[in-house]
């Protein structure tokens, strides 16, 4: 008998706390597959965030550290500078990476820390129950923007990949979705390439995953998937914003 498809070794065989229809499970799996494919599981240290993925340390079958809100890139820096040949990833949401941890994100990227960041952008604070995120799109209703996000009051949704791509330390930045088999395959390619940049010691790599949040968007799973494709991508265009491959 030959197993054609199974659970990646880099994932623990437990059920997760994620809501039905959420994109986190797919992102976890894609990252775990990449860790397996590069054969780095036993030298991987993952940094979990504060937010929906706060329990990621229970799901990845690798050494894990739970960081304070927004500080994952700084914690990852500390680990990687002690163990330069290890494989270090942080897994962060939009509030963690693009609000409270903006400084840590920008400076880890600017130093070219040789780490991989998986950035889950669902345009909302999920764990605390649906408040405005730095990536909440204009007019989007959340519990703290009950009348919709207004540019005059709340400013604009922040495009992290585009911003980070301008930094010399960044080796790879791509924005993807996980809303269809085709987009998942594209996301897998992006995550694999991000991991490859770390294995090749090319610098900081980030994959931003636009992720559906039916619970806090108050939508059915299919509506949420549709909203990612039809609304979110207007503000957050998909694409590869930087890849140093072939530049050298």
């Amino acid at each position: 008998m030959r197993v054609l498809q199974g659970k990646p070794e880099a994932l623990v065989d437990v059920s997760t706390h994620y809501c039905p229809g959420c994109g986190h499970g797919i992102a976890h799996r894609l990252l775990a597959e990449a860790i397996d494919e590069f054969g780095v599981r036993e030298k991987t240290i993952g940094i979990a965030p504060v937010g929906c993925a706060v329990f990621a340390y229970n799901y990845f079958n690798v050494d894990m550290i739970e960081a304070a809100h927004g500080r994952a890139p700084a914690v990852a820096t500390g680990v990687k500078r002690v163990l330069p040949d290890s494989f270090v990833f942080s897994y962060q949401g939009d509030g963690d990476l693009a609000a409270i941890g903006t400084a840590e994100t920008v400076h880890a990227a600017n130093r070219g820390e040789n780490i991989t960041v998986i950035f889950i952008n669902n345009a909302i604070y999920g764990m605390t129950g649906g408040q405005m995120a730095p990536t909440t799109v204009l007019k989007q209703k959340t519990t703290t923007t009950p009348y919709g996000r207004e540019k005059a009051v709340h400013g604009y949704p922040i495009r992290m990949c585009e911003m980070l791509a301008t930094l010399d330390g960044v080796a790879f930045a791509e924005r993807v979705t996980v809303t269809s088999p085709a987009s998942v395959i594209k996301a897998k390619k992006a995550i694999n390439r991000a991991c490859e940049t770390q294995v090749n010691k090319e610098g900081f790599s980030i994959v931003e995953v636009l992720s559906q949040c039916p619970t806090n968007w108050k939508m059915k799973p299919l509506e949420a998937i549709k909203w990612v494709g039809e609304e979110m991508t207007k503000t957050f265009p998909l694409g590869r914003f930087k890849d140093v491959k072939g530049e050298k």
């Binding site: 599981r41 036993e42 030298k43 991987t44 240290i45 940094i47 706060v54 340390y57 229970n58 990845f60 079958n61 690798v62 050494d63 894990m64 550290i65 739970e66 960081a67 304070a68 500080r71 700084a74 914690v75 990852a76 820096t77 500390g78 680990v79 990687k80 500078r81 002690v82 163990l83 290890s86 494989f87 400084a103 840590e104 920008v106 400076h107």
Partner: protein, 350 residues
């Protein structure tokens, strides 16, 4: 080994290297910057050593958390406003049971204050500056030599108890030059750190975490910490007694003020007054029992600090009403002069 004339800040840095500190993360702030600059110069010359100027104190302390998780002997240093910014990370480091050394060369406050010596961070250091129920071991040297010696000890204590240790100096001690001999050294022993996250090679993954959603579980973790803190209290209290054998009046002072107090004790003795000095070297654990013992013998205590009266609260708890406890303090980065302390001592002895 010959004695070298050195600034306090530099002595801490050199001592850290001799204690096997391989990683330093910090952010510039006066009056401790010489410490960072020394390591910025020396660390790149050594194999496996790494110095980083972080984007903020917040980032620096979280880099410390990461490096400690990966098993390194790691240090950060700052001065008061910077230490405030590190408090979030210190709480997490305590919650994760990670060892590290934090140096605070205290300056005048609150707010931006100034860059002159102060002891205004005693409460913050000893009562837990961050959120939650935790402790730091706080060492209070009073000379460049002791800064050097206690820095080595700080790394050993941190590893022994898996907890953060703070070396609490002040702006003057960091800047002053004295002769120092580096006789102590130590090294990191990774074989005694099976809990580190260095990659799950041939073992189950390790998780470093301070989150326990179930109150029963968190209480268990808290109780483990409490047990550890009780051990520290049992084993690690340090105090210096000077001329206390027959003393009737005890000055209690730590750090730089204890130097002034020692000269005042000598002067008082020359005048025929039986004065002595009690100097807590560990501010947490606080040497309460020894102070309580002294309360049986002396007529009164005079606590001298560079703040509005912070350690005096711990002295009063230790004395527990048995004898009067007086206080004298200077604020805003001003130093207490021997004359002022002598006058106060004569006043309380009347």
């Amino acid at each position: 080994m010959p004695k070298i004339l050195m600034k306090g800040n530099e002595a801490i840095a050199e001592s850290a290297l001799r204690a096997g500190c391989t990683h330093y993360f910090g952010y510039p702030i006066t009056p401790q910057t010489e410490l960072s600059e020394y390591l910025a110069r020396e660390m790149p010359k050594r194999k496996d050593c790494f110095f980083m100027q972080a984007e903020s104190e917040v980032a620096a302390i979280n880099m410390v958390l990461g490096a400690a998780s990966a098993g390194a002997r790691v240090m950060t240093s700052s001065s008061s406003p910077g230490i405030s910014l590190k408090q979030e990370g210190i709480s997490y480091i305590a919650g994760c049971n990670l060892p590290c050394v934090i140096v605070n060369m205290v300056r005048g406050g609150p707010g931006l204050g100034n860059i002159a010596p102060s002891q205004g961070d005693y409460f913050q250091a000893t009562k837990g500056g961050g959120h939650g129920d935790y402790r730091l071991i706080v060492l209070a040297p009073n000379s460049v030599q002791e800064l050097a010696d206690l820095t080595v000890e700080a790394f050993d204590l941190a590893d022994k108890y898996r907890m953060p240790v703070m070396v609490l100096g002040d702006g003057l001690m960091g800047q002053m030059m004295e002769s120092v001999e580096f006789s102590k050294s130590s090294e990191n022993d990774l074989s005694r750190k099976p809990w580190t996250t260095r990659g799950a090679r041939g073992r189950k993954p390790n998780i470093i975490n301070s989150l326990y959603l179930e109150p029963e579980e968190l209480e268990k973790e808290n109780l483990k910490s409490l047990q550890k803190y009780r051990e520290v209290e049992k084993n690690e209290k340090r105090i210096e007694l000077f001329e206390m054998a027959d003393a009737e009046y005890a000055i209690v002072a730590f750090g730089i003020v204890s130097r002034i107090a020692k000269s005042v004790v000598k002067e008082a003795r020359e005048k025929g007054m039986k004065a002595g000095l009690i100097r807590p070297v560990t501010l947490w654990p606080f040497p309460s029992e020894e102070i309580a013992r002294q309360a049986e013998k002396v007529k009164s205590f005079l606590v001298a600090e560079l703040n509005m009266g912070q350690m005096v609260e711990d002295v009063r708890l230790a004395v527990n009403g048995r004898k009067p406890v007086h206080f004298i303090g200077r604020l805003g980065g001003m130093l207490l002069t021997p004359q002022q302390l002598m006058e106060k001592l004569e006043e309380v002895a009347k």
